[in-house]
């Protein structure tokens, strides 16, 4: 595997705001990598640095092993799908898709063939002669994809391309994007603030916070072993508890001390326990990490039941479990957490 895109110690400021701060990241060829973070975390700036719309104040940008830091966008072998789609309103679907091919100086017959190929790829047959304003949101999205893919770039950059679609269409387009990426084998760098979307689509996810890269890894890695409290909270629901080292375990409150499988630091830290990893039973569990809880509140969430429980020491915990016989407020349970599900995280 070789690097398709690489940011090396890149920094970019806007006025007094540092949008991207000393970020180093490598995207492997053929990979689907997602830049994930809340708005203003620098993910879009990172993408624009790769496209060439921004120049870094420090650091370098590499594409396919070449330093392109000072190359203009029209000389970079990357294409972008814009959040607003940015379809050319005065050109038909066909001419929009052909735009990049014509700039490459391909002969007319080759352009026609490649446009047909791109149209088939995104299943837009029959729409070639339509104008952008005659298309639905989903169709515009497909045209934007076809237009960016037609010149066969080494890397496709996608800036929150699904954010303007409704939830159902979004699901469909997510599946389609994934299929498309496997089919063409192009490196995809995808920007989103939606952790669910990131999990569904990506081979790897890079989590950004306030311009800094916090953690890179596969979805399961980030979910099970978040490096910081921010990552733990950003990806899915979690119980983030301040903990103090107590012998072999971590003391949560006066009544509960949890053993953790991870060696962990000796310093005070946070521990993260996913709500679906807390088991509730009428009797004490066999292993370690068993403690008594009282149900405070229950919320019906369809397939799952969401409970807020309180330990004897007064700590509130969120618990998710498969719906079945619903629990009642005030009911007492024994809670059990396997030591490998007790994760220590940095601040």
């Amino acid at each position: 595997m070789s690097a398709a895109v690489e940011w090396r110690a890149v920094r970019r400021r806007f006025g007094t705001v540092t949008a991207v701060d000393e970020v180093s990241l490598v995207v492997q060829a053929g990979e689907f990598l997602t830049l994930l973070g809340p708005s203003g975390c620098g993910k879009t700036t990172l993408l624009r640095l790769a496209a060439g719309f921004e120049t870094p104040e420090a650091g370098t940008i590499w594409l396919g092993g070449a330093d392109v830091t000072h190359e203009p966008p029209f000389r970079r072998d990357v294409n972008q799908v814009f959040q607003s789609y940015a379809l050319f309103p005065h050109l038909t679907v066909r001419d929009n898709i052909a735009f990049g091919l014509r700039r490459q100086g391909l002969p007319g017959a080759a352009v026609t063939a490649r446009v047909r190929e791109a149209v088939e790829l995104v299943a837009l047959q029959g729409c070639e002669a339509r104008w952008p304003h005659e298309l639905s949101g989903g169709q515009r999205q497909r045209v934007a994809l076809a237009r960016a893919l037609a010149p066969r770039p080494a890397v496709l950059l996608l800036d929150e391309p699904l954010s303007a679609l409704d939830a159902r269409l979004r699901r469909t387009m997510q599946e389609e994007l994934k299929r498309l990426q496997r089919q063409v084998g192009t490196t995809f760098v995808f920007v989103t603030h939606d952790q669910d979307e990131a999990m569904v689509l990506s081979d790897r996810i890079a989590v950004l916070q306030a311009g800094r890269l916090v953690q890179v890894g596969t979805g399961p890695e980030l979910y099970r072993r978040p490096a910081t409290a921010f990552v733990a909270e950003f990806l899915g629901l979690t119980n983030l508890l301040p903990a103090v080292r107590a012998g072999e375990g971590w003391r949560i409150d006066a009544a509960v001390t949890l053993a953790s499988a991870a060696a962990g630091a000796a310093a005070p830290a946070w521990i993260s326990v996913r709500p679906e990893r807390v088991a509730l039973a009428p009797a004490p569990p066999p292993g370690p990490n068993g403690f008594r809880v009282r149900v405070e509140e229950t919320v019906f969430r369809g397939a799952l039941e969401q409970l807020t429980v309180v330990t004897d020491g007064g700590t509130r915990l969120l618990v998710l479990r498969a719906g079945g016989c619903p629990a009642q407020p005030g009911q007492l349970f024994w809670a059990g957490v396997p030591p490998e599900e007790v994760v220590t995280v940095g601040a």
Partner: protein, 268 residues
């Protein structure tokens, strides 16, 4: 008094008020047009229909010359204003530089400046530089107050344009120049056409600035009409004015049409 607040009565009242305002605005023009077809030399009594005054214009070399002058000046003014205005709008929109705000304010100044001051100052400039008055000086003078209109029209359109459009063009391999030509210019076309028609119309019926900057040979039609009117009213003037009103109405309608299409497909 209940009938006063009935919708029918209200419609009647607003309708007649509108008619009155329109009559006040346009009745003089209607009278002017009507009398251009009057056989009488006097503008006070209707005697019969004739096209004589139009024929008289056609046989007057001075007026014909002036008409040609007007057209040449208006066309040149429109073309130069479009080039300057569009480029200016693009620079102001696209680039951030020191003094940009000042420049923007200055650009609008010729619109607000009294024409007489503009005329006098230009005459001063030309005589200081010893530039002989002629067609050239008239065109320069007209461009100074016409191109801001093009600039402002195009600027407004640019502000409504998705900045990602240019980036998409660059991203797909177009150089900045090609991106402007292939993507930005087509998107601006309605604004450019509207601005050009506006500049053309403004130049065509301008009197005061032209008065200061034209040589006798370069006098435009409005200047000649002004000269004739000082000697006395004459049905030939009515005929000339009718032609002018016709041209102006046509240009305004075309410009409005352009603005309408600009909010259509290209506005998506």
């Amino acid at each position: 008094m209940r009938w006063l607040s009935s919708p029918r009565c209200f419609r009647f009242a607003t309708g007649s008020w509108t008619a009155l305002v329109l009559a006040f605005l346009h009745l003089p023009i209607v009278v002017l047009v009507a009398y251009s077809f009057n056989t009488s030399r006097l503008n006070v009594r209707w005697e019969g229909f004739t096209l004589r005054w139009y024929a008289e214009i056609w046989s007057s070399p001075v007026l014909l010359r002036a008409a040609v002058n007007s057209l040449v000046v208006a066309v040149l003014t429109a073309v130069i204003s479009v080039v300057l205005g569009t480029l200016g709008a693009w620079l102001l929109h696209r680039h951030r530089f020191r003094g940009r705000r000042w420049l923007e304010a200055l650009v609008g100044l010729p619109i607000a400046m009294p024409e007489i001051i503009l005329g006098v100052s230009l005459l001063l400039l030309f005589s200081t530089l010893a530039v002989p008055l002629g067609h050239g000086t008239v065109v320069v003078a007209h461009v100074t107050f016409c191109f801001p209109f093009v600039l402002l029209t195009v600027r407004a359109r640019l502000q409504g344009l998705d900045p990602a459009l240019e980036e998409a063009a660059l991203d797909l391999g177009a150089t900045p120049l090609r991106a402007f030509w292939l993507v930005i210019a087509p998107a601006l076309r309605p604004a450019i056409t509207a601005g050009a028609l506006l500049a053309f119309t403004l130049s065509l019926d301008e009197v005061i600035v032209t008065y200061f900057t034209a040589s006798p040979g370069a006098a435009t039609l409005p200047l000649r009409i002004f000269g004739l009117a000082r000697v006395g009213l004459n049905p030939m003037l009515n005929a000339l004015s009718t032609l002018f009103v016709g041209a102006a109405v046509l240009a305004v309608l075309l410009a409005r049409d352009q603005r309408r299409t600009s909010s259509g497909p290209a506005g998506v």
